[in-house]
Subunit: 419 residues, 2 copies
Amino acid sequence: MSKKYSEMSKEELNAEKASLEKRYGEFKAKGLKLDMSRGKPGSDQLDLSSGLNDVKDYIENGVDLRNYGILDGIPSCKKLFADLMCVNPKNVIVGPNASLTLMFDYISQCYTHGAGDIPWCKQENIKFLCPVPGYDRHFTILEHFGIEMININMMKDGPDMDKIEEYVKDASVKGIICVPKYSNPQGITFSDEVVRRIAALKPAAKDFRIIWDNAYCVHDLDENGDKLLNIFDVLTEYGNEDMVIEVCSTSKITFPGAGVSALIASDNNIAEIKKRLGAQTISYDKMNQFRHVQFFKDANGVLNHMKKHAAILKPKFDTVLKHLDNELSGKGIASWFNPKGGYFISLDVMNGCAKRVGELCREAGVVLTTVGATFPYGRDENNSNIRIAPSYPTVDELNTAAELLCICVRLAAVEKLLG
Amino acid sequence: MSKKYSEMSKEELNAEKASLEKRYGEFKAKGLKLDMSRGKPGSDQLDLSSGLNDVKDYIENGVDLRNYGILDGIPSCKKLFADLMCVNPKNVIVGPNASLTLMFDYISQCYTHGAGDIPWCKQENIKFLCPVPGYDRHFTILEHFGIEMININMMKDGPDMDKIEEYVKDASVKGIICVPKYSNPQGITFSDEVVRRIAALKPAAKDFRIIWDNAYCVHDLDENGDKLLNIFDVLTEYGNEDMVIEVCSTSKITFPGAGVSALIASDNNIAEIKKRLGAQTISYDKMNQFRHVQFFKDANGVLNHMKKHAAILKPKFDTVLKHLDNELSGKGIASWFNPKGGYFISLDVMNGCAKRVGELCREAGVVLTTVGATFPYGRDENNSNIRIAPSYPTVDELNTAAELLCICVRLAAVEKLLG
């Protein structure tokens, strides 16, 4: 049985510290060089999609995809994403390599041309609600456009909906940006009730938009994956179908460096986005779209492919979680979720200790995501959240890195308690 | 010897009309279906780049290009464009399929964040100078952002520089957008003197920007291609290196539907653009960049490849020009340039007749670029400019289409003169 650190005497803490420092020193001596900072697939995962490069076809329904034309995605690729996301192909636009670009460009469009109201650049002090901890690149987009970010705490089943329902009464609050399935970093999937409450929102701002970044839509770690309610099925009940812009991509299905993204939206929003796209591009890369369609054949092909990713990723998540369980359970100094999918494990250490943990890890050769990055403006007021990305290192490396991380979490807590 | 239409008697014109109508009727009876509306490469041109799909490598200098990372282009692809455009790789950003996106995104950036001054969205009544006739998609971008467009006539050696030098004294004039080599549609290359006068401009607006769309940088029709002075070599003489944003792409080198684009700019501008890119994307498609590098090897590889395009295109241009010469010379009803490269022939018909020519052609099954499209807001005040795109039809088809076009040009003129 573990003893809570808060219940330890000074002597016990000092003994614990000495023992941890000894272990830490041994790790430091190894001269490690491990990176758990970003959700990068391993090269064995990338090899799963080698077949993409064997696709040589470029004619679809008599159309030469090498040439000009087709603004919003080739029909077969729109259908592939539509089937995967359970929507109508007419509500899909197939995009470039990164869905980040689709989100940035949409926010930019709201900024320059508005979302059915005055352009955001002509309105003062506009704000977005940001479930925290969250994805740093979301925050970067909002900060780029000078949109004020308001933290909304994540609960076990999604963001704090009472808070959100309160905030949207303010017409200067223009939207929410979130990852509804296997949230980054906690791996939380919004419950049906949360999805319904979001779909039913009645914001004061008529140009209110929810960026629904479904980055991990098919990224289960095993066959007991979470199910996310399709928000577009619910939105219509409330006449709110224009409120949500959903995006996804193949970044973590095929190649982060050469994938295909998609945007899903209402008829009205698709029409507005196409107006902009007609000025912004000739088309996105149609041959890469076709490559993906030919490689997967259909949505089932994608789902089967994801099982191969899961077989590689699950042991990595299990390795990290095993160490967290063994080393941190019952000590009252850390908490975490056991995600059923996604790319991250979110670890909350003792308040005031996260930066110190990052520092200790770095000094011993293990790089974590910059502490604070999971919050708007890089500010984790509690200095407690650490995002762990287990995908890139091998299981052996993770065994080492996770054990070291646990030692650092404990050591930082002891240091703090000893003052 | 042709007789000028203006010197013909009413009887002569009536006889000419009857003869032309007979020929027109014969063409109409053929039930043609030809498209000379857009600068689309033929499929034989696209076949020249089939080798792109054979590239299987994805590791450059130990970096796995399938994975995340590298915001501004892989080093070898930056070098390829840098060598081609005679600039330093550090001044190159490799972009997505369409250079149009690079232009749109840059104008958007100026609109939302400015170009070293107040964002354009916070300034009133801003304007751009547009050499005319010009490229419709340039005008679409400017119109999208509500930027007022001012026509600047094209002369034989580039835009009317006296007018430009006058207009830039107005601080609300924020830029020029142009195609300096083989201009779209006239195929005019700016003379060294024009390039120097542009580089030496002293605009009142300190956030003045020239969008230098070098779309046809290596697109000569034979070995006697035009030479365009490298504006970046001249800009430094005047301390104006921040004034120009150059773009180009492989749309008409490899595939319009799956190419690579590039942006060339000063250190300061590159830094500003990278700030935006860091929020907008993870990276553009790096595997496609590498595919292009591996296929071409180096800048010489591109130049040799372009000779194969020229061998296909030159007979097409010659075919159209032969008909224009045979049918329209000396009649005082049309003028055109003989371009040494690019994708278009610009035909100026008798004032007030261009729309009628487009109509007559369409009724006989030949589609031309919409008349007016070569001017901002689609307004060709003289109703005289027609853009001919000879690349897509075969030489046989062009023989038919060009003869029909000439008949229509003559018929429209006769109709006009007969009142």
